[in-house]
């Protein structure tokens, strides 16, 4: 459709990669090796304007990819994509190394939102929503978790009540990454309280700037204000923005959650090198801190730096191995919980190692000393790595029950959702 370079669907991967290489070199700016992640960076010294500038850059980079014929590589041409294969996307991602790219808007917008639309959307919904996503015009967020929810996605209390061709939504959602700058959202709501909890849910799409929807920023312990909480009061959604069947939301959710998990690798819809440059508390970062403190030659400092680096290398090896084994069928897809568990706990351990390296110098620092501030702040917020995107506790449950086949935990939520205990009587 709108791509400037039309590629035949059967273009060999190598040829495609060569073209991508040339195009990237000519069009894409280099990556900034000092740029960190949003999430683990103390934003207390960073303004919203700074973040908005970056988001605008992401929108422009996404448009650039789109116009170059490299957006939605595995998406059908009728929705603005290239109609190629996962191997083409993987090749492009390899070529992308060293280049800036719209990494911050890949999650949420493309996985799970676009992926879910491709599977469950009506033709009308796909034609309406996917092209703006691929052009960087529409950034999507996920209205999924709820303040009461904890680890139980199916326990949503946010309610959608039918009113003719419309639905009226009331409730609250939380842990929405970047809702404050996003355009649209996919939202899970309860449409039936009289049935078992999984059977009374429905998914909707809705614009984030809409009457009755208030967005609050949540401040994390490292000063980050990237996450939001939303309060929905009589928010009106058209029935044509419903994704999937009424009360069929859990069918959608199963795939939603699956696509969300592919963020660590394996999704055909993500344009990313898969490398988190400047991972916090990895060996090289700790080596830089130790250099600043003048301890880099101490045996204990070397041991700490090495242990941190070992965790990264082992974690990478584990994630690759599990991903490969899931692809070959050697492991079931629940095995992804092992990657989630290991990367969560190893990030926590690395934050502890960083503080061990610095001691008193990690709990206070001169203003502007970002190295040391990073140690202290990321230590404070470290459990986020074992909470966000499904807790490590849930991952352990999945491994035990699904991968190892151990007996399931007793549940008290298998009757009508209205009657499920939700707190002390």
């Amino acid at each position: 459709m709108s791509s400037t370079a039309d590629v035949p669907a059967d273009v060999p991967v190598e040829e495609f990669a060569a073209r991508a290489r040339a195009w990237l070199a000519e069009n894409m700016p280099p990556a900034d090796p000092t740029a960190g992640h949003f999430f683990f960076t103390d934003t207390s010294s960073r303004s919203d304007d700074h973040d908005l500038v970056r988001i605008d850059t992401c929108r422009r980079l996404q448009r650039l990819l789109h116009d170059g014929g490299f957006a939605g590589i595995c998406v059908a041409p009728e929705y603005g994509g290239q109609g190629l294969t996962p191997a083409h996307q993987a090749a492009f991602n390899r070529e992308l190394r060293g280049f800036d790219h719209p990494i911050e808007i890949q999650a949420s917008t493309f996985i799970p939102c676009m992926a879910v639309l491709l599977e469950f959307g009506t033709e009308e919904q796909k034609l309406r929503h996917i092209p703006p996503m691929l052009k960087g015009e529409a950034i999507w967020a996920q209205l999924l978790s709820e303040p009461s929810g904890g680890s139980d996605a199916a326990g949503a209390l946010t309610t959608a009540t039918r009113d003719g061709d419309q639905w009226i939504l009331n409730g609250s959602k939380i842990w929405t990454t970047g809702a404050w700058y996003s355009d649209w959202a996919m939202c899970l709501a309860r449409t039936n309280w009289e049935v078992e909890k999984h059977r009374g849910l429905t998914v909707f799409a809705l614009p984030l700037r809409t009457p009755g929807l208030e967005i609050h920023r949540i401040e994390l312990l490292n000063g980050s204000v990237e996450f939001c909480q939303e309060f929905l009061t009589d928010v009106v959604v058209d029935d044509r923005d419903r994704i999937g069947d009424v009360d069929g939301g859990w069918t959608v959710m199963t795939r939603w959650l699956h696509h969300e998990r592919t963020i660590s690798g394996g999704s055909p819809y993500v344009t990313s090198t898969g490398r988190s440059h400047n991972a916090p508390n990895d060996g090289p970062r700790l080596a830089a801190v130790a250099r600043e403190l003048g301890t880099v030659d101490d045996p204990r400092a070397l041991e700490i730096i090495g242990e941190a680096r070992a965790l990264t290398l082992v974690s990478d090896a584990l994630v690759s191995s599990v991903t490969r084994k899931m692809q070959t069928g050697e492991l079931p897809f629940h095995a992804a919980a092992m990657s989630r568990l290991f990367s969560g706990t190893s990030q926590v351990r690395k934050a502890a190692l960083a503080l061990e390296l610095t001691g008193a110098d990690g709990v206070m620092w001169e203003p502007g000393d970002d190295q040391r501030a990073g140690v202290g702040q990321s230590w404070l917020v470290r459990q986020a790595a074992c909470i966000g995107g499904g807790t490590t506790e849930m991952a352990r449950n999945v491994i035990a029950e699904r991968l190892l086949g151990m007996p399931r935990e007793a549940r008290r939520d298998d009757g009508a959702f209205r009657d499920v205990p939700k707190g002390p009587r």
Binding site: G155, E219, L220, R300, V348, M364, R411
Partner: protein, 375 residues
Amino acid sequence: MFAQSEDQQVFESTSARFVESQYPAERVRALARAEAVFEAPLWREAAALGWTTLLVPESAGGGSLSGNGLADLLIVASLFGRHAAPGPLFGTNLVARALGTWGSADQQAGPLAEILAGDAVAAWGHRSACTATRSSTGVVVSGRVRSVESAADARYVLVSVDEPEGRSHVLVPLAAPGVALTPLKGVDQTRRFWDVTLDGVTLPGAAWVGAMGAAAEHDDELLDVASVLALGEMAGALHRAFAMTLDWVANRYSFGRPLNSYQEIKHRMADLRTQVEAAEAVAARAASLVGSGSGSGSGSGSGRALASAGMAHVGRHGPEAIQDCIQLHGGIGVTNDCDLHLFLRRTVLDANLYGSPAEFARRLGRLVVAQGVAG
């Protein structure tokens, strides 16, 4: 928590009422964002409760409740931990202890009296890299003292300096010409620190505190006392974080069941409960030994050993325990909307301020090795 005798129980409840009324959580949260956290009139009230006198001999104007002033003061430190309360409790008492024990009559009549009355705040410059030269009128001090608590609010800082006779203590008035302060940022938003630079600060000869050359030994004694206070504060903070979490897991439901019905969570709560008890036990024992003067001995069962053992153990496991409380809270736990972080910040500060857990372990290791095969 630490009160034993009836006197101590009265002191605990008076002090608790004061802390609770002056520093409810909303006030602490507000102070975390405030320009300054120190309030002079409040500190004078605190002094009137007896918070400044406990480590000072009666002859120097102080006095304890139980005969072991450090065991008494542990009660206040633990209340500070339970409420993440701000205030110059540590530095003021450490300098009072120094002046009361080693100070001259003039120092006791002057600065110490101001401190005891709550009129002056003081700080212990435990990370000092300073040198002194003698001049005709006294002594000239230059160097840098890192991580000085309350420096902008304090009138005095006790600093060890290298001088020809060895390492000795001087009491530096922070208003003296040549003193400059650099504010620091840090994990605990209600305890504030500054780096202090001394550039040719001229002091009278009477500024020396204690025998010349005795600073290393005296700093070691002050470190024992500071450790006990940090242990008390950590024990209080742990106690509170645990109580909040016990409540949370009882009231939060997942899959139709309260979190506290899940065995894995029950077992973690059991571990946490045990760590809280261990922290309280070692804090109390360290206060008992250090405060009764067993602190300067170097045996591996001495006050110094207990204080170091406490800092090595609680300093390592205390912050980890509160992180586990956060994990049990889920997402809300890593936000400023949940008060757990107040206790996390306070504990990780205490665990590192006077030396890391590893450094305290080495300090204890040296005591063990020095004791030889006798064990």
